[in-house]
């Protein structure tokens, strides 16, 4: 499975590129102060996702959002990354640092709108 990241079109820009075996390495521009280890942790999780077939059993690593079709979240603590499936690719929309107990609806809405736009453009 390949993991792809959206490049632009988000308020919080996430830039990405593929290095080596289609493993993207990226930076969220909202968090310039972010620790290198956090970036490394995100990369480890993405590498983990790209090495495996999709349904991940452990729900503390990766889970489908309740009530939403084709929208999942990766959980490298304390960061959350939303992604959706397009064919065999997992496309990551954006990421944010989760501070509350529940995820913000605004973040989910952004992910949904990005997903719909991306699927429309591909068609």
């Amino acid at each position: 499975m390949r993991v792809v990241l959206l490049h632009s079109g988000t308020r919080r820009k996430v830039s990405a590129m593929a290095i080596g075996k289609d493993i993207p390495i990226y930076q969220d521009e909202l968090f310039p102060h972010i620790d290198k280890r956090l970036i490394q942790r995100m990369n480890i999780h993405i590498e983990f996702l790209s090495n495996r077939q999709f349904p991940v059993e452990n729900k503390s690593i990766c889970e489908q959002l309740k009530g939403y079709d084709n929208l999942y979240e990766l959980k490298p603590k304390p960061i959350r990354l939303f992604f959706f499936m397009m064919g065999n690719d997992a496309v990551i929309t954006h990421g944010f640092i989760k501070k509350k107990r529940t995820t913000d609806i605004s973040e989910i809405d952004r992910a949904v709108s990005l997903r719909d736009r991306c699927i429309k453009e591909k068609e």
Binding site: V4, M17, I25, R37, I39, I44, E47, K59, I61
Partner: protein, 139 residues
């Protein structure tokens, strides 16, 4: 699509930053932990196990099992082997000698040439489940 574009500046910056961190041991433990957590969850689903069932097998509390699955604990080797064996997984660790520089540090005066020079493979640690699916399917 225009969105899937490579950005070379950021690519170079990140290569540098990652190479500086890559020698840190904590990354490898995190990779290992991810694999272990996933294998435990997979095998629990295969055997139709609850967390309570696993806790009974291991003679520990349910909260400890959730800690295992969430990766909040630093697992001992003893407990790791115990957990994996009780789920029917045989642990198998592979090493790869990649870091030649540290070897050179401690072997400066020796005349022995290293037979294993820089290898291109990037295998680090893998834990393979050698149990076939048919043997351990729930009855």
């Amino acid at each position: 699509m225009q969105r899937f574009v490579r950005n070379k500046k950021i690519e170079d910056e990140f290569r540098e930053s990652i190479e500086s961190v890559e020698k840190d041991w904590s990354i490898y433990t995190e990779k290992l932990l991810l694999d272990v957590r996933e294998i435990i969850a997979q095998q629990m689903k295969r055997l139709n196990f609850n967390r309570a069932d696993l806790a009974k097998l291991l003679k520990c509390s349910r909260s400890y099992v959730t800690q295992l699955l969430n990766g909040n604990t630093n697992i001992r080797l003893n407990t790791l082997v115990k957990v994996l064996l009780s789920l029917g997984v045989k642990p198998n660790i592979q090493y790869s000698y990649e870091d030649v520089e540290t070897l050179k540090k401690f072997n400066k005066n020796s005349t022995i040439e290293m037979s294993f020079k820089e290898s291109t493979k990037t295998t680090i640690f893998t834990i393979e489940s050698k149990v076939s699916q048919q043997e351990y399917e729930p009855a």
